[in-house]
Amino acid sequence: MADQIFKAVILACTAFIGLVFLWILGEVVVKGISHLSFSFLFDAPVNSGRAGGIAPILVSTLMIIIVAVSVSVPLGLGVAVWLSEFTKQGQKFATSTRLTLDVLAGIPSIVYGLFGNAFFCIYLGLGFSILSGGLTLACMILPIFIRTCEMGLRTVNDSWRKGALALGMTRTAAIWHILLPSATPAIIAGLVLGIGRATAETAALIFTSGYVDRMPESFMDSGRALAVHIYDLSMNVTGGDHAAYATALTLIILIVFFNIMAQFMMDQWLGRKVLSS
């Protein structure tokens, strides 16, 4: 009986969440779909984005994500492996690294924006650029990614480690061929959370990758991100609501695409490893 009630309650909660989220998504879809068209994706914005499309903004966003992911994923995987496989319980350096990462995860994005502006744009001389924006985002998503990866690695069954050592594998080989592949779900979760946060970021990007809405020619060009465009259209540009919702819808489609891609790539890359080892 208690079992039944418990089940009913949590199923109801889950359904409720699903409904609220469908409501929000529905709102974006309904308000955005009429403005979304083929030319919206392939034209440059006209009249502050009220008319025209978002092509340069899409390109800038993709470039920013490429920078952020290619910096944070290798760095993050490395730190996560170190934390879970090469540190002892209670080791000072590891403990303080974890604490540091937790603090980094909690720093407000606007603070990252101000920091990125001062450090990457001005101190390192990268200026308002896609590179600055991507690096700032990499700092932001690094702690989240490390945390989820480390958790995934730690929950890998220990007999696998013992087995690998018994077979005379080096740890490096065991990590590469056994541990990373079996931590796949967590790595994907971390990647998806990270990319999601990167695409959704506004405050950190206004001050780093900037506001310019022309087509970027290199990673050193300033480029406006989708979320910045949505913010500007809905809060700063009168009469921009329709374009704002259409941009939000595009962003959602992009995130769906990333989720599926992340899943697919991890399956390909890590699935093969498990088989070959």
Partner: protein
């Protein structure tokens, strides 16, 4: 594998940063500052780029104080400031490119037709808290105020001789559109926003209504508005040749269409 990736990145970073010193070239302008002016400046910049191939103008947003700071420090060639300069900022030279008026708005369902200055002051001080005290329906008043530092707030306070600590606000907003969205979603709300945008939203069917100020109906077309502010481009010292040309262009009649598109008031010739 990730060892190599990391290395590749370090190399790329160094490679790119070696280029960064070429930022301030003769054919390039950096303009930063007020988020109110930024969309307008961006449109003017695009037109200017079209007329002058090879020129690149990067417009960055961030707020009036950023415009002043960046122009001062030489981080930007031109700063954007959405108010008149203060005495402490006399080291900068302002060039006005447009005007912006401010008007009071209420929800469309509100049947109050006009408010005197004294009534507005009483509402903002929290002495009048219900529309029925002014002959309206029985509805609590939600006072919408702007955040400190915004030039519209400073203009409002000066016009009504108020201090911000005297105001009993229920909602404090940042950007203009947030004000319009807040008032249109709250039947008892009163707020102040940019007139041009309010006129546009009213026409689009957003449930808001502009109130006449002290008996004068504000309107962008007639250039009548008791509360107004200049939108400025500022430079430190003498502007460079290119900056001078751009400012001249931004003040010319050629951009009046762009100014109106952003719901601001062009300068009289």
């Amino acid at each position: 594998m990730f060892v190599n990736l990391k290395l590749v990145w370090l190399v790329t970073l160094l490679f790119f940063s070696s280029f960064s010193t070429t930022m301030a070239a003769d054919n390039r302008l950096v303009i930063t500052g007020s988020s109110t002016v930024a969309p307008l400046a961006l449109e003017i910049a695009k037109l200017f780029e079209n007329n002058n191939p090879g020129i690149r103008i990067d417009v960055q947003t961030g707020g009036s104080s950023r415009g002043i700071n960046d122009a001062r420090m030489g981080l930007a060639n031109i700063g954007m400031v959405s108010r008149a300069l203060k005495p402490a900022e006399s080291d900068l030279t302002p060039f006005t490119i447009a005007m912006d008026g401010i008007g009071m708005i209420v929800h469309k369902s509100n049947n109050i037709k006009t408010l005197s200055n004294a009534q507005i002051i009483a509402i903002y001080k929290g002495k009048i808290t219900n529309w029925k005290q002014l002959g309206g329906s029985d509805l609590a008043i939600s006072v919408v105020n702007k955040a400190e530092g915004r030039s519209t707030l400073e203009l409002f306070l000066k016009h009504f001789s108020l201090k911000n600590s005297q105001i009993k606000a229920h909602v404090v907003i940042g950007d203009n559109q947030q004000g319009i969205k807040t008032v249109s979603g709250t039947p008892g709300a009163i707020g102040y926003v940019s007139i041009g945008t309010a006129e546009y939203e009213e026409k689009q069917g957003t449930p808001i209504r502009l109130l006449p100020l002290a008996g004068v109906s504000a309107s962008v077309r007639d250039g009548v508005f008791p509360l107004s502010r200049p939108l400025n481009l500022v430079t430190k010292g003498k502007p460079s040749l290119l900056a001078k040309r751009f400012i001249g262009f931004a003040q010319s009649a050629e951009v009046h269409g762009l100014v109106k598109n952003q719901f601001f008031v062009p300068l009289k010739p």
